[in-house]
């Protein structure tokens, strides 16, 4: 059985209030990937559609998109794992291709979050946690991640300033990424300036500047068998490793509050499958829905020892020129986080990096890239390793 490659990647700009319906949103990301791949609809054997369905009025969007994109009568599948839905979609596409069932599969991630209010959105996001035992206390995603931030600070001496440094890094690249929703500069001083919205408390110890924004967007990743990839593409990128794990939805069932077990477990699987270690990774996209999430990712992925993630950001090692560049496209913090589209966007960034086509964000000559994509508060963890 041969390798599985990625032959096309695309995404829309991530925006507030996309001026169109979800099928039109998905069309844009698909078109971008198809033009990147240079293939026709007849080359696509199946589609995998990925989103968090609570934001959609449309039930079962997969069939609707298959028709709108001109991909009927090919089969289509719908997957969700909250914020990591499109990484789960990639894993399904890999399996479909690897098994020989299909040769070329398009993974379509999307979310249109702007049709509901911010409070409604927080409530629905919060329902990605335990609705029976936790939601009745009034939970929301920033507060959950804030609890991990508090534990990380208490255990390791990480500070709110360390977290602010992560947001400043994100904005460095968000400013040069034309797909990002937040493109304004963010200065470290804003976090201590009461006049700046960045300093406003959301859920202690996290502030507005520590949180990513909701956005509308779609992404598309086209996966192909080795034979097809070589026939259809001049520069395929290969899927070297895949890892995925799940954990207790209720925080009472967790044994770790300074990191995410699912990320550690998914990383180990992906490293083992690829036959590499953390030291071999040249560029990474991590799930920075909150600054603390990126800090924990440094440690969970093995870029730093537990508690030493702060040293990486203080020394700017995760900047483009550093020893392990992380989120040099601005990350979720700058790009925004259209739940189902996020994983596909992360994959796109790494594919562009490995092809040497990331423009101003290009890292020097990377050979191996990693994507870390988390669903819920560490309910689902996905790590994908790609190589040239």
């Amino acid at each position: 059985m041969g390798k599985v490659g990625i032959i096309g990647v695309g995404q829309t700009a991530f925006v507030r209030g996309y001026p169109g319906s979800i099928r039109e949103l998905v069309f844009e990301g698909f078109k971008d990937a198809m033009e990147d791949a240079g293939i026709s609809n007849d080359d696509i054997d199946a589609t995998v559609v990925c989103s968090a369905p609570e934001y959609d009025k449309q039930r079962s969007p997969a069939g609707v998109f298959a028709e709108y994109l001109g991909l009927t009568p090919q089969p289509t599948f719908y997957v969700e794992s909250l914020c990591s839905s499109s990484s789960t979609g990639l894993k399904l596409a890999y399996s479909l291709v690897k098994s020989g069932l299909h040769d070329v599969v398009a993974v379509l991630g999307f979310q249109k979050m702007s049709e509901i209010s911010s409070a409604e959105s927080q409530e629905r996001m919060g329902r990605g946690a335990d609705i029976q035992w936790e939601s009745p206390f009034g939970t929301m995603m920033p507060a959950y991640y804030a609890m991990f931030a508090r534990a990380h600070m208490a255990t390791y001496g990480t500070t709110p300033d360390d977290l602010a440094l992560i947001r400043v890094k994100a904005s460095t690249y968000g400013q040069i990424n034309d797909k990002a929703v937040y493109r304004k500069p963010v200065q470290f001083e804003m976090f201590s300036n009461p006049e700046s919205p960045m300093s406003n408390p959301v859920a202690s110890p996290l502030r507005v500047g520590d949180c990513c924004a909701n956005a509308d967007g779609s992404s598309c990743v086209i996966v192909a068998s080795e034979e097809k990839a070589k026939a259809l593409s001049k520069d395929p990128v290969w899927i070297l490793g895949l890892g995925a794990a799940s954990a207790s939805v209720n925080l009472a069932g967790r044994d770790l509050f300074t990191g995410l077990r699912v990320a550690q477990q998914a990383a180990k699987q992906a490293y083992d499958m690829a036959g590499i270690t953390a030291a071999d990774v040249d560029v990474a996209e991590v799930h920075d829905c909150f600054t603390i999430a990126e800090m924990m990712a440094y440690e969970d992925l093995g870029f730093a020892k537990p508690g030493e993630g702060k040293e990486l950001i203080r020394a700017r090692e995760t900047y483009k020129e550093g020893s392990i560049p992380v989120n040099v496209d601005g990350g979720l913090l700058s790009k925004g986080h259209p739940i189902g589209a996020t994983g596909g966007s992360q994959i796109r960034t790494i594919v562009l990096q490995l092809r040497g086509r990331a423009g101003d964000m290009q890292v020097r000559d990377p050979e191996i890239g990693l994507i870390h994509n988390i669903g819920g508060v560490g309910l689902y963890g996905n790590v994908t390793i790609l190589g040239r």
Binding site: A119, Q122, E123, E134, G138, A151, L251
Partner: protein
């Protein structure tokens, strides 16, 4: 006309807004009424569950007894919310937290009358039943 079916929706009384009304551990609410916060213990293997469960995944059996959450637990972490999801706006600000009891952990809120400057990770806290003004029930953490 058929007889109206009795539906046991006691669990809809849990918390500020309950998203679940029917569960096999509905007695949890009756215990809250009696001032007790209860978990379940598997009668076959002894595993403790909090929050309570009707089923033991280890034994794949449903022979449970109730046990009371008593004494102090250690505060693992907490966060004070300045914004709230829909339906909880009147409660802001409030803090959610996790206590470690050794064999199990408890997720809940810190009591409103505990001043923030007195909260620190590692401190001992107790879990106590709390009655909300509209008759809903939950539990909160008090200083031990």
């Amino acid at each position: 006309m058929g007889k109206k079916k009795d539906v046991d929706t006691r669990f809809s009384r849990f918390g500020t807004v309950s998203f679940t009304s029917i569960t096999k551990v509905n007695d949890f609410i009756d215990y809250l009424e009696q001032g007790k916060v209860m978990g379940t213990r598997c009668l076959d293997c002894g595993l403790l569950f909090f929050p309570p469960r009707a089923d033991c995944h280890r034994c794949r059996a449903s022979n449970m007894e109730w046990f009371e959450v008593t004494g102090p637990g250690k505060l693992i972490t907490y966060s004070k919310l300045e914004f709230a999801p829909m339906g909880f706006g009147d409660d802001v600000p409030y803090a959610i937290a996790v206590l470690d009891y050794g064999d199990y952990k408890v997720f809940g809120r810190i009591a409103k009358d505990v001043p923030e400057e007195e909260i620190s990770v590692g401190m001992d806290m107790r879990t106590v039943v709390n009655r909300l003004p509209d008759g809903q029930l939950n539990y909160v953490f008090q200083k031990a």
